[in-house]
């Protein structure tokens, strides 16, 4: 039985009711005195030289307070590839590139002003196909580069060439994985204001408040120490907030030029047209196995379309590499990738970060291999599942690992053994089941030189505890999880803790919320800070209770003697006793946690995370063979999360992630034609609605990770990773047709059925 009092409790989110009743203050709600509204003029062309920009008429429009073009900005570049300026002066490289911006007293005037700006373009030949972009005669998108290739990388372990010869069976596929959008409900937003001394405050929905200070500083030449980032309540993010984008420095510069605060918020259409999408990838892959059921080799060639500029999203290939190299025990593997510039929309970070793509390839081919050797796909997976405390050839040091349990549990609950063997068919309706697993970083991911987070815990005179953490709350529940960890350690109720997590001027540094890292990293930082507080409390209580610290415990709001619990003093009284005396001291603890993980070497090897999360999803689908329509009937999602600090949020992450995965699998698709996004509304984009979400049964497997706070590992992205593969495998089980391009629309299914001639 658990000895915890707070860990494992389903404590509701404090912002749930304010969100449901519309009382929460999102970025879009924030207004400050004298605030202006900013708008951006965007390029209608995918590739063109800018010959001339005339802003004079816009400047004369009454109500316009600032108009800026590239000429107004310091000549600085920003972004992961240092390949863009906030406003483009010489040429545009994608539809939607930022050319000029205005700030006006209201949005209508700002919009009208945009229409008064005249831009003369000289269209250039554009390239939209990443393969074509690599040809020597392709139009060069960035003139200071030799080609449109941004990065080529090769990863190898074992001897893949030999292994492909040795393998008893080899399967080969081409995958075409389309663009999807993170599409949070709240569109991109920024509000910038300078105070009288020239210091800048930015209200933002970013996931990286501290790196945003640095990025803004680099893009604009404003010292980072003069930039304060305040995070508003964030209306969803899903990875979008992992980079700084052009609109943020533009908003700041408008505020500087106008001498007034400026707010800039995207319209929904802008959000679809220019905010960063999940990388579309073309992947050619082979995998081999031995007849006895050993997975033997995997090889993948990946073509990643960055779009016109690279963002952190280009790093998704590292994650994909890790999935292909280490999900299941595979003795030989090779991944080769080219990440390429095109005149397409920019791509960026989206939940899963390369893992949904990699998992799709691995898990579809796992099914194909099992079929080729005549083995049940579940059995094949179990034989090759990663094991606890095993290092993969890639240098990934797996510690706790519940993959086997996840696979078994997901399969059992979906009714695998009865259903898989006999997919049913009634009239036009066929049913089938599929399964797919996932491995995801669960103990941070060292993609920056630091993977750290800071935390301060202080206690006031009444025993109220304040936790200052760098960890960002984007709806996932880190605001409660961190509190639960501190409450457990200090033996107090979560209601007695206030969390502050939204202001770089107040909270300690953190690298950002990404890589499912917050519970693990920020949780460990909070635990360290809480332990210092605990030590201080115990030190004072020793005197008051006349017992040594080792004999004392903090529980239920008291410090008490473990063996004689009736001898106790209230928590707050101990705090006051420490304050109100000669030579008194304040109670405050601080913690910094940076895990012992490694950045990947140039060979793509290394232990990128301090621990790894595992999961398996089983899906039952119904396919209408006359319309091609696929309906997921039920999903079972089993995950090894180390320990569920708050099971409700673990379930929430898994359910939300799964629905996002279902969108990726079946309906969501950002349609891009010649660099232009065609579907610009939620209507046209087809995110799943609640009516499309099937019952999702979540299973939490606890493996008590030695490094995690109270044994916890990350779970934020895992739900999304395996869904598309599980659905594709279930469709195959139902109708015997393989669709290797996402999303699997009714039309693709029907075409495939007709081609097969059924």
């Amino acid at each position: 039985m658990s000895t915890f009092s707070i860990i494992g409790k389903r404590i509701p989110k404090p912002d749930a009711i304010p969100k449901a009743t519309g009382q929460i203050i999102y970025g879009h709600d924030v207004k400050v005195p004298r605030m202006l509204y900013g708008k951006i003029l965007r390029s209608p062309l995918p590739h063109a030289r800018i010959l001339h920009i005339d802003t004079s008429r816009a400047e004369r429009l009454s109500g316009v307070k600032a108009v800026i073009t590239a000429k107004d900005l310091p000549p600085r570049r920003f972004g992961y590839g240092r390949d863009r300026t906030p406003l483009k002066g010489d040429k545009v490289r994608r539809c939607g590139d930022e050319v000029a911006a205005v700030a006006a007293i209201d949005e209508d005037i700002a919009e009208e002003a945009l229409e008064l700006i005249r831009v003369e373009y000289d269209p250039l030949p554009a390239v939209f196909d990443p393969q074509a972009a690599l040809r020597p005669d392709a139009p060069l998108i960035h003139e200071d580069r030799e080609s449109n290739l941004f990065r080529h990388q090769e990863y190898v372990h074992g001897e893949p060439d030999r292994a492909l010869e040795e393998a008893d069976v080899v399967v080969e596929d081409e995958f075409d994985l389309g663009y999807v959008q993170p599409a949070p409900l709240e569109t991109s937003f920024c509000l910038a204001a300078f105070d009288a001394s020239g210091k800048l405050t930015v209200w933002s929905t970013t996931q990286i408040p501290f790196l945003l200070q640095k990025d803004l500083s680099e893009a604009l030449g404003i010292p980072g120490r003069d930039i304060r980032v305040i995070q508003t309540a964030i209306g969803g993010s899903f990875g979008r907030g992992l980079d700084m984008y052009s609109f943020e420095p533009i908003c700041v510069w408008l505020a500087r030029k106008a001498g007034r605060p400026v707010r800039l918020a995207f319209t929904r259409q802008e959000e679809f047209a220019v905010s960063e999408a999940r990388q579309s990838m073309r992947i050619w892959a082979r995998a081999g196995a031995m007849r006895d059921g050993r997975l033997w080799v995997r090889e993948a060639k990946v073509l990643l379309d960055n779009g016109a500029y690279v963002s952190w999203g280009t790093v998704t290939t590292l994650v994909l590499m890790e999935t292909i190299g280490s999900l299941y025990r595979v003795p030989h593997a090779r991944v080769v990738y080219d990440s390429v510039y095109t005149n397409n929309p920019i791509t960026g970070a989206v939940r899963g970060f390369g893992n949904p793509q990699g998992t799709f390839v691995v898990e579809v081919q796992m099914d194909r291999l099992a079929e080729a050797i005549g083995m049940d796909p579940l059995e094949f997976r179990l034989r090759n599942a990663n094991r606890p405390f095993e290092e993969t050839p890639q240098g990934i040091k797996i510690t706790t690992c519940g993959l086997t349990e996840c696979l078994e549990e997901a399969a059992r609950r979906i009714g695998w053994s009865e259903k898989r063997a006999a997919p049913s068919r009634r009239g036009a309706i066929a049913r089938g089941v599929g399964i797919a697993a996932t491995m995801n970083v669960g103990g941070g991911a060292r993609i920056y030189r630091s993977d750290g987070c800071g935390c301060i815990v202080k206690v006031d005179d009444f025993g109220r505890v304040t936790v200052l953490t760098g960890a960002t709350e984007i709806g996932q529940g880190s605001d409660v999880v961190v509190v639960q960890i501190v409450a457990e350690e200090l033996g107090i109720r979560p209601e007695e803790i206030t969390i502050v997590n939204d202001d770089t001027a107040v909270t300690p540094w953190d690298v950002g919320v990404h890589a499912s890292r917050t519970t693990f990293i920020a949780g460990n930082a909070a635990l360290r800070a809480a332990r210092q507080v605990k030590a201080q409390i115990l030190e004072t209580a020793e005197e008051l209770l006349g017992a040594s610290a080792a004999e004392l415990e903090l529980r239920d709001g008291y410090v008490r003697i473990r063996e004689a619990p009736e001898q106790r003093i209230p928590f707050d009284k101990v705090v006051r006793a420490r304050h109100f005396r000669q030579g008194g001291q304040v109670i405050i603890g601080h913690g910094w946690y940076d895990p012992h993980n490694e950045m990947l070497g140039p060979d793509g090897k290394g232990n990128i995370s301090a621990t790894y999360g595992f999961g398996a999803q089983a899906v039952e689908v119904e396919v209408d063979v006359e319309t091609g329509k696929v309906r997921p009937l039920r999903v079972v999602s089993a995950h090894d999360v180390g320990r569920a600090i708050n099971p409700m949020y673990v379930e929430g992450q898994i359910e939300g992630g799964t629905v996002m995965g279902l969108g990726y699998a079946l309906s969501e698709h950002l349609q891009v034609h010649e660099g232009r996004v065609l579907n610009l509304t939620p209507f046209d984009y087809r995110m799943p609605t609640i009516m499309d979400a099937p019952p999702i049964e979540t299973v939490i497997i606890e493996t008590d990770d030695p490094e995690g706070p109270f044994g916890a590992k990350g779970v934020g992205e895992m739900g999304t990773n395996p869904t598309a593969a599980a659905v594709a495998n279930a469709i195959y089980n139902a109708i015997g047709v393989r669709i290797n391009s996402l999303p699997i629309t009714p039309e693709k299914v029907l075409r495939a059925l007709k081609e097969r001639g059924s």
């Binding site: 209508d108 259409q269 319309t627 309906s667 349609q671 065609l678 609605t689």
Partner: protein, 291 residues
Amino acid sequence: MRFFEYYAPKTLDEAIQLLVRHGEGAYPLAGGTDLVTKARYGHLRPRVIVNLKRIPGLNDIAPEEDGGLRLGALVTLAEIARSLLMGERYPLLAQTARKMGSVLIRNLATVGGNLCNAAPSADMAPPLIALGAEAVIVGPRGERRVRLEKFFHGPGQTELRHGELLTAIRLPPPRPRTRGVYLKHIYRQAMDIAIVGVAVLLQFDEQEAIAEDARIVLGAVAPTPLRVPEAESVLIGAPLTEDRRLEAARRAARAARPIDDTYSSAWYRREMVGVLTRRALEHLVSHSPER
């Protein structure tokens, strides 16, 4: 959304005069689920908006002396879905309304707005045409009536001339032994525009063996809702065998003039016309569950 003038007249005359006075750029407003969305997205820029919701008499569902029904243009989809009178006399319409938008949208959206917006995919049009509905139009020169079949001229274009308003839909008395169904093909389970819509209405003979009359109307596969007489004729006067139903479905698919767009390819739309028409007929003939 840009600045516009807003009026909320209390009489029909006043509304018509406002529209006439302000000319192009003046739009009547009903539920606003199409109009406001289009204005937000910049697809149209109203200079003047004339709200019709304060005008009495436009949102009733009223029985008429001949046994028919007068459906006010401002009746919402939610009202159609839950009206007992509708459910009793024209269950096809109540059923169609339930397949549109979401609860929130249905509470706002009106039947008149759906028709006047004249999207090729408008769900109310095929079943209303199948039922033989008539549009009641009032304008500066008084009232006129047009068969709904003739109301649509193209995407976003209708019989209405500037200053004219659709005030009601007139439904002829329900005919005996008549059953209808509207099948709407969408990718998601809700909130989708029809990829294809098929309304089928059959009037059976006393023995329920032969159809005395048949109507097949397609949505989203031509610039306007498309009635398919050549498919209807196969079904009338002879037993509704599987062969006949298949033939009708084939003819409907052939008659469709679909386009490729972001929702679907023309190929897929045509395929779906065939499947949905066949399924609608199966459902009506054999009472098989609707899919």
